[in-house]
C-alpha cells in the first residue's frame, strides 16, 4: 500500500510542530524519518495514526484521501504502529495481547483465544519468529516483546507499519535481527516508516531517507550518504562526532568497588557481585543495554539503594551504608539518568536548582536562613560559565530546553569540590550541540584529575569518552576492556558473551 | 371563566413560541422551562392592603437551635413547633436561626439581639454559656433556655435574672414506661441506648431502668435492662443524634441479646432501631421518647408499646404566649407528671397485650409519684 502525506501542518498554540510536511512511502519501501529529538517526527506519526488532527494537509492511502478521527480509523485503514514504549499488558499472554481491543467472543461472552493462537502461529511461522502464543509477556525478552507488537499490528492486516524508535531498547544483535525482519516485511509488500535518530541503522536498512528539522522537511537523502552528511542535515551544520581528548593521566586508584550486589524492592537481584575500580584521571564507561543493572549500580554508589552488599571505597574511606547526604558530602558528583525526574525540580528556579543538593549548610544556608544574595550571585556566575540559555536565574527550570536543563545539573554538580564524578546517560535526549558541550565538560573533569564514571547505552558515546569500558549484562560485568575495543566485540559483550581476552584494567 | 382560559391559552402559545424560536436551547432545559413558564401563567393577586396585616405589637419571639437543627425530630423541632404555634396565635412572625457548630451559638444569639428580639429561646444545654453571657449583657431582653438550669457557677441559682429555664423531670415518666416494658416483656430482657451521653438523655434511661427494677421487686421477677447501668452510669451510645449505621448496630446488638422492648433515646436515632427490628423479623416493641410516636410516625405505629412524653412544645408555646401578653416571669418551668409536662402515652395497639394488672399498677405508680409515696430520682434530674 502506498502512503502519502501532503502538506501536513500541526500547531500547538503558537508552536508549529509540523510545517507543511510532505512524504511518500511506496509499497514495499522502508522509508526512514530521521531527525533530532523534538524535530517533529513523533507528532507527524501521531497525526498519521489519528491521535492528532492536523490543521492542514491530507493523508492518502493508495491515492485515496483518508479522514482519521482516532487510532481505530487508522488501524482499520491498514496502518499499524510499533511503539517506542510497548503497549502490551505484562501479565497477559502473547495471544491475549494480540487480540486486545479486537476480542472475539463465543456464546455467553467467553473469549475465543483459539483463533488468536492460530493467528500468532501463522504470522510467526511466516517470519520465523518462534513465539509461543501462550507465553506471558513479562517473561519474554525485550526483543521478543517487540516482535509481539509487530504480530499485533500485522494481525490487524496492517499494510503500513510505523516503527517509532524501535532500537532504543535493543542490543546491537537484536537490532540486527530487527533489521532483517523489517527487510522481510518490506519484501512481502508492507510499507514501513522507520523513525530514528541513529544514523548507522538508517543507512543499513532504509530505501529512502527524509530528514526533518524543527518541524520541516530539510532534505532527502539516499542510504549511500555518509554519517557526516546525514548529521549535518539533521542539525543544520557540520558536526564533529568525535571528542578530542588526550591520553589519560592516571593518578592512582580512587574508587574501589568489591563484590557489590543490589537487591531491588521486588526482591530481584539486579546487580550481582560486581567488582571494579576507577583511577583518578580516567573515564570508566559502563556500557550495556538499558535495564541490565547500570541504573541500580549508580544508585548504589550514591546510597539510593537499600539492599546493597559488598564494599565501596572512595580514597580508602567506605561509602556503602551511608546516607545520600554523607556520600555527596564525601565529594561525589552525580548526574542522574532521568534528568527531569531525579535531577531537577521543574517548578524551582534555576537558582534554586543550583543549590538543590547543598540545602543544609554554608555557603547557601546560614543559621537556617537561605542566603538569597549569595545564591543569586552564584547562579549568575554559573549561567555565564555553563552558557545556560535562559531568561535569568529566576526562570523555572522546567521551561528550559533539555540541553540547558542538563547544563544546570552539570553546573550544580561540577561546582562542588569533587573526588568522584558519576554521569548516567549524560546526553540522553540532547541535541548535538549540547552533546558536544557535555562531552567536553566530562573530559575536562577527567583531566583535572577526578575519577569519572559514565554510564551510557549509546555505543557512540561510550567509544567517544571511555578510557576503559565495563560492559554490563544481566546485573554482572561481562568484562572490562580498553577504550579502543572494536564495536563488534562490545556488541557481543552487551549480548552477554565474554570478551575474547578479558582483562581487568590497564 | 372563559376570559381566564383565553388568557391561559395565549400564555401557553406565547411560551411555546418563545421556545421554538430559540433552537439553541437544550431539549431538557426547554422542557423544564416550559413547565416553569406554564406555572407562571397564574393570575396576579390584587394588590394587598398593607394596613391590616401589621400586628399592633412590638413583641418579637426568636429561637436558636443547637447543632442538631430544627429538623432533628427531637427537642429542636418540638420547640420550633411550639414557638410557631404561639406566634401564630399572637399574629407575629418569629425569627429562627440554626447553628451549625458549637462555636456559632454566641454569634447567633448576638445577632438575634441585634435584630431586636424581645424573647430569645435557646435550645439545649450546649447554649447555656452563650445564653447567660448574652442575658447579662442585655437585661432588657428575655431568654428561655431548654433543658438546662442556666447555672454555670453551680450555685443552684439561675445566673441571670432574665433567663427562664425550661426543665423536664422525665425520670418518673421513664419509670412508668420501664414498669410497663418489664410487664410486657416475654423474653425477660429490655434494652435501651442513647445518642450522646448527656443528662437530658440519660435521665430517660435512669427512670426506665429503675422502673424495671421496681417491677422485679413488686412481682418477684428478674427482668433485665441491658444497654444502661444506673449505678455506674455507663451504657450504649451512638455518639450523635443521627439515624444511621451506628444506631442500627446498637439496636441490633440489643436484639441479639434477646431484648424484646427497645428504648432508643435521642432524636431520629429511633428510625434506625425500626430498621433493625424489621430486619430481625422478631416480634419486638419500642418505647418512643419526647412525642407520642404512635401519632407522629403512623407508618410504624404498630411497633410502639408506648412513648415517654416530654412536652417541650407546650412549654415553649406557654412561655411565648405569656411573654407576648407581657407576663414573662423568670422562674424555672419544671415539667412533671403532676403538671403534665411529662408523662407516658396511651398503649394504643398494645392495650390488649399488656396485662391488665400492669396497667392498674402504672396508674397507682403515677399517683404514688405525684403524692410523694414513690420517689424516682436520677443523677441527671433537674436540680431545683
Amino acid at each position: 500500500m502506498k502512503l502519502e502525506l501532503r502538506g501536513i501542518t500541526k500547531r500547538f498554540g503558537a508552536l508549529v510542530a509540523n510545517n507543511n510536511i510532505s512524504l511518500t512511502v511506496e509499497s514495499g519501501e522502508i522509508h526512514a524519518l530521521l531527525g533530532e529529538n523534538g524535530a517533529g517526527k513523533s507528532t507527524l506519526m501521531n497525526v498519521l495514526y489519528g491521535l492528532y488532527i492536523a490543521e492542514e494537509g491530507d493523508i492518502l492511502l493508495d491515492d485515496v484521501v483518508q479522514k482519521f478521527a482516532g487510532p481505530g480509523d487508522a488501524m482499520n485503514a491498514g496502518i499499524g504502529m510499533v511503539h517506542q514504549h510497548f503497549m502490551l499488558v505484562p501479565v497477559f499472554t502473547v495471544a491475549e495481547n494480540v487480540v486486545l481491543g479486537h476480542e472475539q467472543t463465543t456464546f455467553g461472552g467467553r473469549l475465543d483465544l483459539s483463533a488468536a493462537r492460530a493467528k500468532v502461529r501463522e504470522i510467526s511461522d511466516r517470519f520465523g519468529f518462534d513465539i509461543d502464543p501462550d507465553a506471558l509477556i513479562e517473561e519474554l525478552p525485550v526483543g521478543v516483546q517487540q516482535r509481539v507488537e509487530i504480530i499485533k499490528a500485522l494481525s490487524q492486516d496492517a499494510k503500513v507499519l510505523v516503527f517509532d524508535e524501535p532500537t532504543a531498547v535493543l542490543t546491537p544483535q537484536e537490532t540486527d535481527e530487527l533489521m532483517i525482519i523489517m527487510r522481510q516485511l518490506a519484501e512481502s509488500g508492507t510499507s514501513i516508516v522507520f523513525i530514528t535518530h541513529k544514523l548507522r541503522e538508517v543507512r543499513a536498512v532504509a530505501d529512502r531517507i527524509t530528514v526533518i528539522r524543527l518541524g520541516t522537511v530539510v532534505g532527502d537523502a539516499s542510504p549511500t550518504a555518509t554519517n557526516a552528511e546525514l548529521a549535518s542535515l539533521m542539525v543544520g551544520r557540520a558536526v564533529e562526532l568525535t571528542v578530542h581528548k588526550n591520553a589519560p593521566e592516571l593518578r592512582g586508584p580512587a574508587l574501589t568497588v568489591k563484590n557489590l550486589s543490589v537487591i531491588d524492592s521486588r526482591n530481584q537481584s539486579v546487580v550481582n557481585n560486581v567488582s571494579f575500580d576507577v583511577q583518578a584521571g580516567e573515564v570508566l564507561a559502563i556500557a550495556g543495554v538499558q535495564g541490565n543493572g547500570q541504573t541500580e549500580l549508580t544508585e548504589a554508589l550514591l546510597g539510593l539503594q537499600h539492599h546493597v552488599t559488598g564494599s565501596i571505597e572512595l580514597d580508602g574511606k567506605p561509602l556503602r551504608g551511608y546516607s545520600v547526604r554523607h556520600i555527596l558530602d564525601s565529594g561525589v558528583g552525580f548526574v542522574p539518568e532521568d534528568r527531569t525526574e531525579d535531577g531537577l525540580i521543574a517548578d524551582f528556579s534555576i537558582a534554586e536548582n543550583l543549590m538543590l543538593d547543598r540545602s543544609s549548610g554554608a555557603p547557601f544556608v546560614k543559621a537556617g536562613n537561605l542566603q538569597l544574595g549569595f545564591r543569586a550571585k552564584f547562579a549568575a556566575e554559573k549561567i555565564a560559565e555553563f552558557d545556560i540559555r535562559s531568561q535569568g536565574s529566576e526562570m523555572e527550570a522546567g521551561r528550559l530546553s533539555g540541553g540547558n536543563q542538563q547544563k544546570v545539573v552539570l553546573a550544580r554538580e561540577l561546582s562542588r569540590e569533587l573526588r568522584l564524578f558519576v554521569a548516567a546517560q549524560p546526553t540522553r535526549g540532547l541535541d548535538v550541540g549540547s552533546i558536544e558541550f557535555v562531552h567536553t565538560r566530562i573530559i575536562e573533569t577527567r583531566d583535572s584529575g577526578i575519577p569519572v564514571i559514565v554510564v551510557s547505552t549509546e555505543l557512540d558515546e561510550v567509544v567517544a569518552l571511555a578510557d576503559r569500558i565495563a560492559v554490563m549484562y544481566r546485573g554482572e560485568i561481562v568484562g572490562i576492556v580498553p577504550g579502543n575495543t572494536p564495536r563488534a566485540t562490545l556488541g557481543l559483550m552487551m549480548a552477554g558473551e565474554h570478551a575474547p581476552a578479558t582483562e581487568s584494567g590497564l | 371563566m372563559v376570559y381566564v382560559h383565553a388568557i391561559s391559552l395565549g400564555c401557553i402559545l406565547e411560551v411555546l413560541l418563545t421556545i421554538s424560536t430559540r433552537k439553541t436551547v437544550i431539549a431538557g432545559l426547554a422542557m423544564f422551562g416550559t413547565a416553569a413558564m406554564l406555572a407562571a401563567c397564574a393570575q396576579a393577586p390584587a394588590a394587598t392592603d398593607d394596613t391590616n396585616s401589621a400586628a399592633a405589637s412590638d413583641f418579637l419571639p426568636c429561637m436558636v437551635s443547637d447543632a442538631g437543627g430544627f429538623d432533628d425530630q427531637s427537642f429542636n423541632q418540638l420547640g420550633f413547633e411550639g414557638l410557631n404555634e404561639a406566634a401564630g396565635e399572637l399574629g407575629v412572625t418569629p425569627i429562627t436561626v440554626e447553628s451549625a457548630a458549637e462555636t456559632d451559638y454566641q454569634s447567633n444569639v448576638q445577632n438575634l439581639v441585634d435584630q431586636g428580639c424581645s424573647l430569645i429561646i435557646t435550645v439545649g444545654f450546649d447554649l447555656a454559656a452563650a445564653t447567660v453571657e448574652s442575658a447579662l449583657a442585655n437585661p432588657e431582653v428575655n431568654y428561655a433556655l431548654i433543658d438546662n438550669a442556666a447555672d454555670l457557677d453551680d450555685d443552684h441559682k439561675v445566673d441571670a435574672p432574665n433567663i427562664k429555664p425550661l426543665l423536664f423531670d422525665t425520670a418518673p415518666a421513664g419509670f412508668m414506661a420501664g414498669y410497663a416494658a418489664a410487664g410486657y416483656s416475654e423474653t425477660g430482657v429490655v434494652g435501651t441506648y442513647g445518642g450522646r451521653q448527656i443528662a437530658p438523655v440519660t435521665i430517660f434511661m435512669d427512670g426506665f431502668a429503675d422502673g424495671v427494677v421496681y417491677y422485679n421487686e413488686k412481682n418477684d421477677t428478674a427482668v433485665k435492662t441491658i444497654g444502661w447501668d444506673v449505678a455506674s452510669q455507663t451504657g450504649s451510645f451512638t455518639g450523635g443524634f443521627a439515624a444511621g449505621v451506628d444506631s442500627f448496630a446498637k439496636a441490633q446488638a440489643l436484639i441479639d441479646q434477646n431484648a424484646d422492648v427497645l428504648l432508643p433515646v435521642g432524636g431520629p436515632i429511633f428510625l434506625s432501631a425500626i430498621e433493625a427490628i424489621k430486619s430481625s423479623g422478631k416480634d419486638i416493641a419500642m418505647v418512643g421518647v419526647d412525642a407520642d410516636l404512635f401519632e407522629t410516625n403512623p407508618a410504624n405505629s404498630s411497633l410502639f408499646l408506648t412513648s415517654i412524653l416530654k412536652d417541650i412544645k407546650l412549654a415553649v408555646s406557654t412561655v411565648v404566649a405569656a411573654s407576648g401578653s407581657g407576663t414573662f416571669d423568670a422562674t424555672a418551668y419544671l415539667g412533671t407528671l403532676d403538671n403534665e409536662g411529662v408523662g407516658i402515652a396511651p398503649f394504643h395497639d398494645f392495650e390488649s397485650k399488656v396485662p391488665a394488672t400492669v396497667i392498674e399498677d402504672i396508674d397507682a405508680i403515677k399517683a404514688g409519684i405525684i403524692d410523694g409515696s414513690i420517689t424516682v430520682e436520677s443523677p441527671a434530674s433537674p436540680k431545683q
Binding site: 534554586e352 540547558n404 | 457548630a101
Partner: protein
C-alpha cells in the same frame, strides 16, 4: 467548550504511574493562578444569589404569576438577593444601621475572630500541601490541641501570662504529636497520609469524647454533661479592643504564624527542603535531602499550626468550656482556605479572612433575612469546586489555558537557542 480549553498534548508522559499523577494533580490544584481564585469566589457568589432567589418564598410566590405581572418577580428576586448580600456585608464588615461607629465596626472584629482559627488551620493544611501531602486530619489535630491546651488552662494554676503561654505550648505540642504520628507512619511504613489522617480523626474524636465523660480528665467536676469547666482567667487570650468586641489576642498568634510560615517556606533551608520534596520527591532524595525526615517535620509543624486553631477556639472563642464539637468543622474548612489561598501564607491569610466574613455574615443573613445558613456552606463548596476545576472557570471567563501559553515559550527558547548554535 471553546477552543481555549483544548488540553496540551500528552506528549511522552504516558509512563507516569498513579502516584505521580496524584502528586501532579495536587500540584495543579494548589498551584493555579490567583485570578482563578478571585473568579471562583465571584462565580460562587453568583450561583449563591440564584439559590437565594430560588429558596425565597416571595420569589416562589411571584413566579406563579410571572406573566401577568413580571415586575413583582423581578423585584422579589432583587429584594431577596440584595437583602441577603447586604446582610452578609453588614454582618461581616460594617453595620450601617448601628447608632455609633464603635458598634458599626463590630462585624469587622467578628470576621477577624472567625478568621483566626481558619487561618491557623489553613496554614497547617497549606504547609502540608506544599510538601505534597493532603492533611485531612485537621479535626483530630484541633481536638487534641484543644484538649491539651484546655486541660492546662482549667486544671493547672499558674500566674497570668505564663499560664497562657504554657497552655499554648501544650496545645501546639498536642497538635504536633498528632500530626507527627502521620508523618512518622508515612516515612517509616509508607502508609498514605490521607487514610492515616482520616482514621486519626476518629481516634481523636472518641478519645476526647471519652475524656469528656471521665471525671478528673476533661469533664467539669460535678457535671453530668460531656463538657469541660470554664478556662481559668489567667489562661485566656485577652480581648484586643475591650470586652465590647469578641476579637481576642489569638488573632495576633495567627499573624505571627503567618509570618513564620512565610519565613519557613521562602527564607529557611528547612522550607526549601519542604518545597523540594513537595515538588519532586525523587529529585530531593537524589540531592541528599532526607525525604522521610521532611515528611515527619512537615506533618508535625502542620499539626501544630492546625492545633493553633484548636487553641484559639478554647482559649479565645469559647472560653466557657467546650465539648467534642469544638473543632466546628474548621479542620475541613481549612482545606478550602488553603486551596483558595493557593497554599501561600498570605494567600491563606486573605482566604481565611474571606471565610471568616462568610461565617460572621452568614449569621446576620440568617437572622435578618431568613436565608438558610446552608447557603453560605454551598457558596464555600462551590468555591472549592471551581478552584478544583480550573478548566471550567477558564472556559467560563475565556482565560487562556496555561498549557498553551507556556508551551510556546519553551519551544521558542529552544528554537532561538538552536538557531544561535547554527549561526555560530
Amino acid at each position: 467548550m471553546s477552543a481555549t480549553t483544548t488540553t496540551a498534548p500528552a506528549g511522552r508522559d504516558s509512563r507516569k504511574d498513579g502516584s505521580e499523577r496524584w502528586t501532579q494533580t495536587l500540584r495543579d490544584i494548589t498551584g493555579g493562578s490567583a485570578m482563578i481564585s478571585v473568579l471562583a469566589v465571584l462565580f460562587a457568589l453568583v450561583v449563591g444569589a440564584i439559590l437565594i432567589a430560588f429558596t425565597n418564598e416571595r420569589v416562589q410566590e411571584t413566579a406563579g404569576y410571572f406573566f401577568s405581572r413580571p415586575t413583582d418577580l423581578l423585584r422579589a428576586v432583587w429584594d431577596a438577593v440584595a437583602g441577603a448580600y447586604s446582610a452578609l456585608f453588614q454582618g461581616s464588615i460594617y453595620n450601617f444601621r448601628a447608632t455609633n461607629f464603635l458598634t458599626a465596626i463590630r462585624p469587622m472584629t467578628e470576621t477577624l475572630t472567625f478568621a483566626t482559627p481558619l487561618i491557623a488551620a489553613g496554614l497547617g493544611v497549606g504547609l502540608a500541601f506544599r510538601v505534597g501531602m493532603f492533611n485531612i486530619g485537621g479535626r483530630g489535630q484541633m481536638l487534641i490541641a484543644a484538649g491539651a491546651a484546655g486541660w492546662v488552662a482549667f486544671a493547672v494554676e499558674l500566674p497570668a501570662g505564663i499560664h497562657l503561654i504554657v497552655a499554648i505550648l501544650a496545645g501546639l505540642l498536642g497538635g504536633a504529636i498528632w500530626g507527627g504520628i502521620v508523618g512518622l507512619l508515612k516515612a517509616r511504613t509508607g502508609a498514605h497520609e490521607v487514610i492515616v489522617t482520616i482514621m486519626l480523626n476518629f481516634v481523636a474524636l472518641y478519645l476526647i469524647q471519652f475524656l469528656l465523660r471521665t471525671p478528673g480528665a476533661l469533664q467539669a467536676p460535678g457535671s453530668n454533661n460531656p463538657k469541660t469547666p470554664a478556662m481559668a482567667a489567667t489562661a485566656v487570650f485577652p480581648d484586643l479592643f475591650g470586652p465590647r468586641y469578641n476579637l481576642h489576642a489569638g488573632f495576633l498568634t495567627v499573624v505571627a504564624a503567618t509570618i513564620f510560615v512565610w519565613w519557613l517556606l521562602s527564607r529557611s533551608n528547612l522550607g526549601f527542603q519542604f518545597r523540594a520534596v513537595g515538588q519532586n520527591p525523587s529529585a530531593a532524595r537524589v540531592a541528599g535531602i532526607n525525604v522521610k525526615n521532611v515528611y515527619l517535620y512537615a506533618m508535625a509543624i502542620s499539626g501544630a499550626l492546625v492545633g493553633l486553631a484548636g487553641i484559639n477556639q478554647v482559649l479565645g472563642t469559647v472560653t466557657t468550656g467546650f465539648g467534642s464539637g469544638i473543632d466546628a468543622g474548621i479542620g475541613f474548612d481549612a482545606i478550602t482556605v488553603a486551596l483558595l489561598g493557593r497554599s501561600k501564607p498570605w494567600g491563606i491569610f486573605a482566604a481565611g479572612i474571606l471565610f471568616g466574613a462568610f461565617k460572621a455574615g452568614g449569621f446576620a443573613m440568617q437572622a435578618a433575612e431568613g436565608v438558610p445558613i446552608d447557603i453560605v456552606v454551598v457558596v464555600q463548596a462551590l468555591i472549592v469546586l471551581f478552584i478544583a476545576a480550573p478548566p471550567l472557570v477558564r472556559a467560563m471567563f475565556h482565560l487562556p489555558t496555561p498549557g498553551t501559553s507556556r508551551k510556546p515559550t519553551i519551544r521558542a527558547v529552544k528554537t532561538r537557542q538552536t538557531n544561535e548554535v547554527v549561526a555560530k
